[in-house]
């Protein structure tokens, strides 16, 4: 490949730099503007946060292992639940996807880097500071936030010192996300190589384009909502106080106007990753490329008008309940289109089952199960029963863990050879897959039963009839949690050595990133390639020369 050749104009730039590789030293990571470096930073940060959030989850599951209180005071339990969710969502899943975007979007569309490289660095480097603010609350008098990740007033305002820190941490995460999203949108809209028309972009790029739009529209609303919390607590406003003419439920409306798009922010990039993997290992073009694009856009659009399905029990007027029930149900249609397209892509393919494909298949099945329970939750009169029970917990862990997290892991295995230049250990990868997939179902499937039988969520202790399934679930949690250590081992092993990966890595892999060397050179596509599309393979653009 010649794309990484040095160019004659190096002398023009102000900063002294080397076109061949990264500058040495640790400060490289602090000052870098390289999309691959920043992608790597995001991915490591996400992995660390996944373990921090996971450790809290294991704390929760340990306390719930049997009835009675053994390990955590109820107040501390609530802190664990709240922080577990905040860390997993804002610290693990979202940054992981931004890491993928950083690594892959420029390589997939033939761009030399992200459009705004300095801002790209800033988006990342805000995060460690935001999470320092957030995690510091654990060591403050009164402890960490304990009002749930949804931060409903008036309860959240009862928190002591943590309230202000929580709010400012959320502000910082918001700033980071918005800048990251602006970068992705601008890169995709402005940095495509000649010939890379919108409808030739790989689906991963499409899903991130739409996700970035969701982020820019949703995060500022969250910022507004928490700002109102701040002023209600410290500056005497009455937004969420009935005595002053406000309404606690108003917070919920504003929060979920952000919150529902947020859950699609966490799943659309996952859809993108899966849509890259399945065709590769089926050795067959993605089925229904265009309908995939339209389905993703429809999901994004509808996601802004369904928010109150999280609040069916707050006592909305009947018309409101009906409206939100219908719109929520509607989301099943475009999501179904995606599932059916994956199914059709596999149909009459020539499949092999390397580790990324195993995770992708598990994703399709388990995410769909989570989608089904979502659809059940959408039915308002029945949601009155499900709401705030472990049935909901089961639902969102199916879509988040076996959805978002599985897709992240699938993607990591898929692109790891491209990133590191080495093939990972396939046997260990399969062990990781089977251990995780079995244990995650032991962990979360019984929670459906618990919820239906009447176990509320966010409780540190429960009535005796829930004991059996909680024990099963906790056992699953520990097996699942510790299986992830295997993942870390595999990743580190792959970085440090292993069989040299070919450029294409996978027999069926198509698209620009696979035309680059493995590992991908520090700078790629400094001369934009010109793109043509193989009409038999929609969404898999290739260089024209």
């Amino acid at each position: 490949m010649s794309a990484n050749q040095a160019h004659a104009h190096a002398a023009d730039s102000i900063a002294e730099h080397d076109h061949h590789g990264p500058p040495p030293g640790l400060l490289r990571w602090v000052f870098t503007t390289n999309h691959k470096d920043i992608g790597t930073l995001y991915l490591w940060f996400a992995l660390i946060m996944f373990f921090v959030g996971g450790a809290l989850a294991l704390g929760i599951r340990a306390e719930l292992f049997k009835p009675g209180l053994q390990l955590l005071d109820p107040h501390l339990f609530n802190q664990f639940t709240t922080m577990h969710a905040l860390i997993m969502i804002f610290g693990a899943v979202m940054p992981a996807f931004v890491g993928f975007a950083n690594w892959l979007v420029p390589m997939m569309i033939g761009a030399p880097d992200m459009a705004l490289p300095r801002m790209n660095n800033w988006s990342f480097w805000i995060l460690p500071f935001a999470f320092t603010l957030l995690l510091a609350t654990f060591f403050m008098p009164g402890g960490a936030p304990a009002g749930g990740w949804t931060m409903y007033p008036p309860l959240v305002l009862q928190g002591g010192s943590n309230v202000a820190f929580l709010i400012f941490a959320v502000h910082m995460m918001g700033i980071s996300s918005i800048m990251g999203a602006i970068n992705v949108i601008v890169t995709i809209l402005n940095m495509r190589a000649p010939g890379m028309t919108l409808l030739r972009m790989p689906l991963f790029v499409w899903s991130w384009l739409i996700t970035a739009f969701l982020l820019i529209a949703a995060m500022p609303v969250l910022a507004g909502a928490v700002t109102m919390l701040l002023t209600d607590k410290f500056f005497g406003t009455s937004f969420f106080n009935a005595a002053g003419g406000g309404d606690p439920v108003m917070f919920q409306h504003i929060f979920w106007f952000f919150g529902h798009p947020e859950v699609y922010i966490m799943i659309l990039p996952a859809f993108g990753i899966i849509s890259q993997i399945i065709p590769t290992f089926s050795r067959k073009p993605l089925f229904g490329y265009e309908s995939m694009v339209y389905a993703t856009a429809s999901i994004a659009f509808i996601s802004f008008i369904v928010w109150a399905h999280h609040m069916f029990t707050v006592g909305m007027p009947l018309t409101g309940e009906l409206f939100f029930m219908y719109t929520t149900m509607l989301i099943a249609v475009p999501t179904g289109v995606k599932v059916f397209n994956w199914m059709a892509t596999m149909w009459r393919g020539s499949m092999t089952f390397e580790t990324p494909m195993l995770w992708a298949i598990a994703f399709v099945v388990l995410f769909t199960i989570g989608g089904f329970s979502g659809l059940m939750l959408a039915i308002t009169p029945v949601d009155f029963q499900y709401h705030d029970t472990y049935f909901v917990v089961a639902h969102f862990h199916y879509v988040l863990v076996t959805g978002a997290v599985f897709a992240i892991i699938a993607g990591a295995y898929y692109w790891l050879p491209k990133w590191t230049g080495h093939n990972y250990d396939e046997t260990l990868g399969k062990w990781h897959f089977w251990l995780s997939t079995i244990s995650v179902n032991v962990l979360f499937f019984p929670q459906h039963f618990l919820g239906l039988a009447g176990m509320p969520r966010r409780i540190p202790d429960y009535a005796l009839q829930f004991a059996d399934w909680n024990m099963v679930s906790s056992v699953g949690a520990f097996v699942f949690g510790f299986s992830q250590l295997l993942f870390v081992y595999i990743v580190v092993q792959t970085i440090r050595g292993g069989k040299k990966a070919t450029d294409q890595v996978w027999e069926g892999a198509e698209g620009l990133e696979w035309t680059l060397a493995s590992p991908a050179p520090y700078h790629t596509f400094e001369q934009p390639p010109s793109i043509k599309e193989d009409s038999a393979h929609p969404g898999t653009p290739l260089p024209a020369h």
């Binding site: 900063a15 300095r118 805000i126 603010l133 918005i178 949108i185 109102m228 108003m250």
Partner: protein, 289 residues
């Protein structure tokens, strides 16, 4: 002047972002400490602010230098444009949250507390007997005590005229720039900045009047909350916009910008128009109706 620099300019190594993060961390962390009553908080906040100011000046300084040295080709210019547009879009959504709160309170919560609708039918009479639920209100508990409101005709109308005029003057400045007429450019820009300052001055007068004479404060129930949050955040944005325009004025005086390439100027102007449009929303929904 098209690209003198072939290819898309990618800066290498930058120290501004990490400074920005540390500054933000100190500023917001310090603010949180302040709210928790820590005595060292102001120092932390000041340090954070200083770092941020240095960062902003340094970062923009670098970009201006690069721009003036012709490093940015048309594609870079487009990136900046898109970036600014999406940033403004995010700001619109930030205001939407507060407008949403205003509409929600006026359409739902206040009438409900006053006994209207299916939710209000029992809420009103049982919990808040005697409360009428008519806007403007500081709620059934009359938080903050009786207060007066500011009529739309008066300072708000005047300020509307001022801001709309400033929108026109900034456009005139832009036309002048496109015709490469330096003098009018600077004068119109100066006029815009001054109009912005006059707006802020009147806003200050209005706030003082509200606090001193009308007993209308941030603590006047939901009315005071929505009123001051919306107008206050808007005022903050006017301030930011005015600073941006001021910088453009200084740059224009130094001979920066060409009729073809003056993205920074346009970005400031867009921002100014956005602030303008938000104000019109405020004028209609906060003051008028």
């Amino acid at each position: 002047m098209s690209a003198t620099h072939p290819g898309y300019y990618i800066p290498h190594d930058t120290r501004w972002p990490i400074m920005g993060s540390i500054g933000l961390f100190a500023l917001l962390g310090g603010f949180a400490m302040l709210l928790n009553g820590s005595s060292s908080a102001p120092v932390v906040m000041i340090i954070g602010t200083l770092i941020l100011v240095v960062m902003i000046i340094g970062w923009f300084g670098t970009v201006i230098k690069e721009s003036e040295s012709g490093f940015y080709n048309d594609q870079v210019d487009i990136s900046f444009r898109h970036g600014m547009i999406w940033f403004i879009f995010s700001e619109v959504l930030f205001f939407a949250a507060f407008f949403g709160a205003l509409f929600y309170a006026r359409i739902y919560s206040v009438p409900w507390l006053g006994g209207e609708g299916s939710v209000g039918a029992t809420t009103g009479p049982l919990l808040w007997p005697g409360f009428e639920g008519i806007w403007p209100t500081n709620g059934p508990a009359e938080i903050g005590g009786a207060f007066g409101t500011i009529p739309a005709v008066g300072i708000p109308l005047l300020n509307t005229i001022i801001l709309i005029t400033s929108g026109a003057t900034v456009t005139l400045a832009h036309w002048a720039l496109k015709k490469n007429q330096r003098k009018p450019l600077c004068w119109w820009l100066l006029a815009t900045v001054l109009l912005g300052l006059v707006f802020l001055y009147f806003q200050g007068v209005e706030f003082a009047h509200a606090y001193n004479d009308l007993n209308l404060t941030l603590e006047s129930g939901i009315y005071g909350s929505t009123f001051f949050m919306l107008t206050g955040f808007h005022g903050l944005h006017v301030t930011i916009g005015a600073i941006m325009l001021l910088v453009m004025l200084l740059r224009a005086m130094r001979g920066h910008f060409t009729p073809e390439r003056h993205f920074a100027f346009e970005a400031a102007a867009w921002y100014w128009h956005f602030v303008d449009v938000v104000w019109i929303g405020l004028f209609i929904f906060v003051y008028w109706f």
